[in-house]
């Protein structure tokens, strides 16, 4: 991922042998033996078929669930739980309907003890970057889905955590808005210094945005392979039409769906 200078790569989040079993009527093993090292400032995507446990894995990273076995270790917070230390953005924007867009974005800061006026000023400065300028006082119900998702993202970002977990953040949007937001995120990420773990079912999204892609198997989800995305940064959205992009996309499709009947991969026909 060369930038020319000598980067000391620090591991910021390490998963060792993480497994999770839910005790339903019969035990449901969702993920198994996940070993993954995420480096500081890296953009990692998790892709996999439905039900492979990617959201569960993210919930574990967020500190909302305990793994049944294995450990998650964070370099910055070695002894404590990760809950409240890692920023998490779920698929639904979950904006509070009784607060304006501005007041929604500052809620993380309020929890942290910041006073309202300082928080508001800080958030307001970022509104233009997030394409929300002029909509500060609107209720979430009166703005579009894309704007709500961006507001939710700003809310996540304002908590100033070094690691961001994004759970299919653009999944609920239509294709055009999604492409728009992917390009926007790609651009934004260049200026952020955070580590991002993205869960998505969209292969192109993963290829466009990530440094590395972890492909997961079906349930119980294991990491099948980890693909390093070869393109340098800064990237532009135009890369999606490059031939290398399509080639890598084919590789990923095969990797994801090769073992399944009726699959979109080339190998099973």
């Amino acid at each position: 991922m060369g930038t020319g200078s000598c980067n000391i790569v620090t591991e910021t989040l390490t998963l060792s042998g993480v497994s999770k079993t839910f005790d339903a009527r019969s035990p449901l093993r969702v993920i198994q033996d996940i070993d993954l090292s995420i480096r500081e400032g890296e953009f990692v995507s998790l892709i996999g078929p439905s039900g492979c446990g990617k959201s569960t894995l993210l919930a574990i990273l967020a500190g909302l669930l305990e793994p049944t076995s294995g450990t998650v270790r964070s370099a910055d917070h070695p002894d404590k739980t990760l809950l409240g230390k890692i920023a998490y953005m779920p698929q639904k924007d979950l904006l509070l309907p009784w607060r304006s867009l501005l007041d929604n974005t500052i809620i993380g800061m309020e929890f942290g003890g910041w006073d309202r006026s300082t928080s508001r000023a800080r958030a307001l400065r970022l509104f233009p970057t997030f394409g929300l300028a002029g909509f500060e006082d609107y209720y979430p119900a009166h703005v579009s889905g894309g704007m709500r998702q961006r507001a939710a993202f700003l809310r996540t970002l304002l908590t100033d955590r070094s690691i961001l977990l994004l759970d299919e953040p653009f999944g609920a949007l239509d294709a055009l808005t999604r492409a728009n937001l992917q390009a926007w995120l790609l651009n934004l990420w260049e200026s952020l210094e955070t580590t991002i773990v993205l869960v998505t079912h969209d292969i192109e999204e993963a290829l466009l945005l990530s440094d590395r892609i972890c492909v997961m198997t079906e349930r119980p989800g294991r990491i099948k392979e980890i693909i390093t995305v070869p393109w340098d940064r800064p990237r532009t959205f135009s890369i999606v039409t490059a031939p290398e992009f399509t080639a890598l996309r084919r590789t990923l499709l095969n990797s994801l769906y090769a073992d399944q009947p009726f699959s979109p991969s080339e190998d099973s026909r």
Partner: protein, 264 residues
């Protein structure tokens, strides 16, 4: 479908027309069958009574209104307090909530005369009756409202670093407000009934007392007049609560009417 944005629209005209028609029909029937006033007063008789006994009616209305207002205020404050207690302290809730529910199973018509023995006459027993009938819908609705928050929302707030108290005050309480207002609207109209029951059981003032005392005196039109005022009070309180809801929860009302996203 074009969203209706006003509280009063054309249906008020229809309602008035239907109302006026019924009143005219009533007047006509009384006239046609020559029904005596002590049996069934005509609307005109009720109107006359309202004018003649104006001062009397105002006096009794004020008594009942006091019972309603004070009783409902106590119901609202204790109801909300109990709901918060039940929801935040789970162990306490498991003890208190069943007691609250059990209190409702004892018919108020039995409790009211007992209150006279325990508390005496005057406004106090009626206020207690009003409180007893009005606080239950407030508690139940508010508890449901506080519990109505999705787990994913709570989890999200936890990842944002919220403490349990912060989640309770900044998420659960605002979420519960629409529910609280529903409970308030029901409680407010029940307050009117509570006041009347309290007065029926032992009173020498108030609209409920008036309706009861006018019957053996064959002053039926006075009785009807009092009932009319009671209805107006009930509707008025309900409207007041609705307007308050509109004012305090602008996001809630609009939320149900406007829909800008095709995917929602």
């Amino acid at each position: 479908m074009k969203p209706r944005t006003r509280l009063f629209d054309f249906s008020i005209i229809w309602l008035s027309l239907i109302g006026l028609t019924l009143i005219a029909l009533w007047e006509g029937l009384v006239f046609a069958f020559d029904i005596p006033q002590w049996k069934l007063p005509a609307p005109s008789d009720i109107g006359v009574e309202l004018l003649h006994s104006k001062n009397l009616l105002i006096f009794h209305t004020w008594v009942t209104l006091q019972e309603i207002i004070i009783g409902f205020s106590v119901a609202l404050s204790t109801g909300v307090f109990l709901a918060i207690l039940i929801s935040y302290y789970r162990a306490v809730g498991r003890l208190v909530y069943p007691i609250v529910i059990a209190s409702q199973t004892i018919p108020i018509i039995v409790i009211a005369p007992l209150l006279l023995i325990w508390v005496g006459y005057g406004l106090t027993p009626k206020i207690i009756v009003v409180t007893l009938v009005a606080f239950f819908p407030i508690v139940v609705n508010t508890v449901d409202g506080l519990r109505s928050v999705d787990l994913e929302m709570i989890n999200l707030m936890r990842t944002l670093g919220a403490t349990r108290w912060q989640i309770f005050t900044k998420i659960q309480i605002p979420s519960s407000l629409p529910f609280l207002f529903s409970g308030m609207k029901v409680g407010a109209t029940l307050s009117v009934i509570g006041a009347v029951i309290g007065e029926w059981v032992g009173s020498n003032a108030g609209l409920g007392y008036l309706t009861r005392m006018s019957v053996p005196l064959f002053l039926t039109s006075r009785s009807f007049a009092a009932v009319l005022i009671l209805s107006v009070l009930g509707v008025g309180i309900f409207l007041l609560a609705s307007l308050l809801e509109r004012a305090l929860l602008p996001w809630h009302h609009r939320n149900n009417k406007m829909n800008l996203d095709s995917k929602d």
